[in-house]
Every structure is written in C-alpha cells, then in structure tokens.
Symmetry: C2
Subunit: 381 residues, 2 copies
C-alpha cells in the first residue's frame, strides 16, 4: 500500500462534472461519476470522514480499502477547525490528504441532531454549537459558501431533514421549505469545472410529496440528486417504497445518492431501485465497537467464542486484519481496549463494504444483479 | 510500505544468538544482534508493545518507522490473554504479526508498579491481578516458562526492581535476591538456537553494588546484560554514573540493554557509556497525548500556535504525519480528539527515535559520535 504523499497530489486535468451510464440491469445502474478530483465507479460507497478524518484510519488506509470518494461533515468542520481556516490551509483535500473526490453534506441534518436551541425560519436555522455554545446561523447561501471554502467536490443543498414520524401536512411544509432552500442553494453555488451541486429529495414517507420534490428539483436543475430523510426509523420496506416513488422522476443522466444508508441489504435493495451513491457511519462506527461485517453476516469480536480462534475473520478478505491476524488477536485487542482493535476492524469493515460495491458493479455489468440481490436479501445483514 | 503479511512470515535459517561488534568510538559501540528472528542493528530502540500491540500502530506501521525489534510485557500478557493461549495460537510473532525479534520483560517491574497486595519472598512474588483481582504467583522459573510460551526471542531474568530512594543495605539485599533469582532463571531457561536470556544488573545508585551485580551475572553467564532499576527518579547524572560503574564489568562480546530509557539525550549519553539496546514508552505515550519529538526539541500539538501552520511537523521526516499533513491538521485532530492524532503522532515519534538511532549508528561508524553527543546534549530533549 503506497502512501499517497503530498508530492503525488498533482491535480488531474480538469474534467467536467458528469455521470456516464456504463451498463444497467433492471433499474440497477453501473456508472462513473467524473469530477475535478478524479472518477468514481458507481454504485459506490463513501466512507464518512466527519471531522476531516475517517475515524482511526490514515488516508492511505482508506484508499487501500478501495474507496474512491469520501464524505465530510460541514456542521462539524464549520465549528472546528472552521471553514475559513481550512480554506487558508488549501482546502479539505490537502488538509486530510485525500486528493480524490470529497462530498460534504450541507450541515442541515447535523444541526437537527446535534445542535442546541435551534430555531428554524424561512431564512435558515440559528442554533448553538454543541462544542462551545456559540450562536451560529446557517442559511442555504452560507452553507454553500462554507462548502466552497472547504473545496468540496460535491456540494449538497441546505435542507431541513423532516422528523419521523410526521403528518403529511407538516412533511409537505417542511419539504416545500427545503425546495425553496434548494433554489437559493442553486443560486448561491459558484460553478467550477468538475465540481457539482446536488439537490435533496424530501417528503418523508409520502409518495406524492417525494414525487413533487423530485420534480421540483429536476426543474431547478442539479448535477446530481440525493434522497434524504430516509433511514430515520421508517423501516426498509417503506424506504424502498419511497425510492420507487422517487427515482423514476429523477433524470437518468445524473447520479443519485441515498444519504446515510446503510446495511449491506439496504444498499443492494437501493441499487436495485436505481441508486448510485451511498454513505453511512455503520462500517466505521461498528468497527470501533467490535462489530465485524463478513460475507456471512455480522460478528461481535468481543464474544468469548473468538478467544482461541486462530483463523482470520474472513480468509477471502484482503484487509490488514484478515491478512495478518487471527480472530483471537482481534478479540484480545477489544478485550484489552487497545486502539488497534478499532483501527483493524474499521479497515476490515470498510474493505468489506468496498468489496460489496465491487461485487455489485460486476454483477450489473454481467447482467446477474438479480441473483446477487436475492443472495444478499437471504443473509439479511 | 508493503504489508508484512502472514504468507511472508517464513522463518529465516536459524542463526545462533549473538552479538557482532562492527565498530566503536570511545565506549560507544556499533553492533549487530543476531537472532532466530533476524538481526538487529545496534544501538537500537525497541518500541513498547505492552499487550502485543504497539498502541495505535499496525505492525507494518511499526516496521515502516525502521524498528527491527519490539518489546512486549510478560505481566500484561500472562493476565490477558494468557501465555498458554498465545502459545496455542503459535506464539507472539504470529499473534501480533511481528516476524522480527521480540524481547519480553520478566514481569518483575510491572508486578511492583501495577499489581495489588504483592508479597515478596525468596521463592518469588504473589500478587493480585490489576485486571480481575485473581491471585497469581510469579517465580523465576514461572516467568522464564511464560516467556517461552510467548516465544520471546530474548527472555529476561525475573528480578526485583528496587524502589527509589533506598538505603544501601536494602539495595544490597534486594540486588542479591535478584542475583539468586537470576541463577534460577538461568537454570530454568531452555536453550533454543537463536534465542537468548539476559541477566539484569541491579544495585540502585550504589557503584559497588552495581559492580558486584555485574560480576555475579557475568559469572553465571548470560547471552546479554540489561541494566535495570534506573530512570526511576535518580536523575540523568546518577544514571550515567551508574552506567560508568557497570558497563566496564560486563563482557564486551555480549549486547547491553538499558531498560526503560528514555529521552533522546538519555539514549545518546547511554550509548556513549557502552549501551546497545533501549526501550521506552516515551515516544508512544507522548504521541498519544499530543507531544511531538522533533530534531529541535519537543512540541505540544495542542498548542494554539499550530492551528494555522501549514508546514509539516518536520520537513525532513519521512513518516506519514510529516509527508502527508500539516501541523495545523495534527493540531485539529488533537483538539477534536480524533484517533488519527495519536496514530499519526505515534508514527512520527517512533520514526524520530529510529532516525536518531540511525544517526547514532552512522556517527559511531564514522568516528564522529562525540560531535553528535555534544549536539544532542545541547538540545536537551
């Protein structure tokens, strides 16, 4: 695994931001997102690098898992170390040593889940930082500006992530506010070759609202479309139903991103419904608590049955945990609360997710995605 | 940095345990320890892998710093996961993916500093585990047996580490008990080609006791000699004085190891007094708390003056922190309490220590060690 190294971070010739559809199998799409920071083969999974670091991983370890694009959180970075500071230091790519594409969320979701004393109005959201209590205002214009300071390859529109459950009336009001914010985000976005702005479909678990939102965004015009406000407690069946109500109304020539999803079976089911991009804290967070993803399901490495097991976690996995160590060693590291446990298991889980995405891409290319989807539904991870 | 990988852990042809003196400059020695698990160029620094992991590092990251030999702690490993378990799993080298030489301490020092309700007698020490309160007895015979179960390349004799300060009478009694234990450790040690047993010189800050201890050990006969019971509060001047009272009485054709030392200036001064091997938690522990070693002194990465500093920690350092990131990024990671801060700074500090050892070796070879020692005394790290 070569270190990426500052010296090799020479920028590729600037490519227009776009999406190439390479193959399809039913609604499942095999594509390529092209960006100023290089291409991303889709369907793709983006590891979450909240505070400009995928927790416990060096950038070269993340790259070694097969990841081509990562996500960072606007909310966290605007509060610490600050978007202006990252801009002065040359942007997020240099800062975190990730020369590849980076997507930043808009901060909307985290404001709802982490910030204190928030007040939502037509203009935007005012809240107090969960770090130091400082009063902060986020508007569509400010969120887009911050994401430019961060030098995000993909900027997300500022939106309100609707609570769950919510009445249809409230969901409609919230979605329409998000659509007005989407239009303001679009107007505030400064076009740069190879950079993109994604709209976010809202509408909770209401098919008509999802359709209305998708059409509104299509009319405004974005470089890609996300489906937001899912995986918030509605269950997999409803999530899939909402995707079926949404993706047919999104332009086929733009990438589609399902935010914050999810388990392997969720990802496979969403790909079957036309989704190209994913992000989720599940592989990284689980890795830190001792939960391992394997082809056969999940394992808790703290469980005593691994204590004397000299076999690797997954003999077919190429990650450092599986190539170099036994299940017994991983068990020992978690029992002894050694940092290397979370480090190795995060590397493993991310590798497992990237291997899944590679399998999915190969299956779509070969026209056998249906078989893969059925097999994954059976494992039920 | 290639992964070491299980498949490449084929054992080298077994070499006799030994020490080759390649060059000397005053009392400073440039040598090579040969072992069943490969050679170690000396003077050498061994990173501490207490619980079969150098905290926060994969084995390949440790190897990338330039380290050839690591230390692991018998006390920790006998309690968790247990020496029998590590033996059943094929030994420490496989367990922690370190095919190179491993030195284990005898457990004596940790029993004194960590265990509860300890009782010392002629036979050995009985104590309660700091993990689960279980009653455990360690004797010279049991310690040597455990280190064989761990498959330690270098086994240390079981000793009593004298408290500081201590009267000459008590120091003499304690040292003589350690010498009787050393003879029992020697008798219990099972000779294996390429494996070694080291005696430990005790005697606190009393020159005569140190000399007596060194001569007693030489009479018993060991593959190498450690100087123990220093760096416990006596100060650098006393430590150096004790080394001067000790090393002339140790056989020149065997390696000499100063246990638990130390700062760069301590290491340079000890090399000047004929020491070949070192271990210390300082670079790893400091790395976890944000303290960086550099050629010019130490830096606290939490300090606000690094917040906007786009320069690397040390432009001449080849570690991942210095090659890929700015001081500002390291500062951010520590402020945000991200795991990657300790990971990167541990890698840096270990690299800094290994670079120092490389410099020392080159200076002895070139007959200019005196100049290097003077320069380091000036920095005063």
């Amino acid at each position: 695994m070569p270190f990426v190294g500052r010296e090799s971070q020479t920028r590729r010739p600037v490519t227009a931001f776009g999406f190439e559809l390479l193959a399809s199998d039913g609604a499942a799409r095999r594509g390529r997102v092209t960006t100023a920071h290089g291409p991303v083969e889709t369907p793709a999974f983006m590891p979450v690098g909240t505070a400009a670091t995928v927790k416990g991983m060096t950038a070269e370890m993340v790259a070694a898992t097969g990841a081509e694009m990562v996500l960072a959180n606007t909310y966290h970075l605007m509060l610490r170390p600050g978007a202006g500071r990252i801009e002065r230091l040359g942007g997020l790519h240099d800062f975190m040593n990730w020369p590849g594409p980076i997507l930043t969320d808009s901060g909307g979701f985290q404001v709802m889940s982490l910030a204190k004393l928030r007040k939502i109005g037509e203009e935007g959201v005012t809240f107090r930082s969960h770090i130091d209590g400082a009063k902060v205002t986020l508007t569509p214009e400010r969120s887009v500006e911050i994401q430019k300071q961060l030098d995000a390859t993909v900027t997300m529109v500022f939106d309100e992530c609707t609570q769950w459950p919510v009445s249809e009336d409230e969901a409609a009001q919230s979605m329409r506010l998000s659509m007005r914010w989407a239009a303001r985000s679009r107007a505030a976005f400064v076009e740069r070759p190879g950079y993109g702005l994604f709209g976010i479909v809202q509408g909770s678990a209401y098919r008509d609202l999802r359709e209305e939102s998708a059409k509104t965004l299509t009319d405004i015009g974005f470089d890609g479309h996300a489906v937001g406000g899912l995986a918030v407690g509605e269950g997999q069946a409803t999530m899939f139903e909402m995707l079926e109500a949404t993706t047919p109304h999104l332009p086929a020539e733009r990438p589609r991103y399902l935010m914050g999803v999810g388990k392997p079976a969720d990802i496979v089911g969403a790909v079957a419904r036309g989704i190209d991009l994913f992000d989720c804290v599940l592989p990284t967070r689980s890795g830190r608590t001792g939960q391992a993803f394997t082809r056969g399901g999940t394992l808790n490495m703290r469980n005593a049955r691994h204590a004397e097991d000299g076999e690797p976690l997954d003999p077919d996995c190429g990650c450092p945990a599986c190539r170099n160590h036994s299940r017994a060693y991983l068990h020992h590291l978690f029992k002894a609360e050694e940092m290397l446990g979370p480090i190795l298991l995060t590397a493993h889980n991310l590798t497992c997710y990237q291997d899944l995405m590679r399998e999915i891409r190969a299956a779509i290319e070969a026209g056998r995605f249906g078989g893969l989807a059925a097999a994954h539904a059976k494992i039920g991870r």
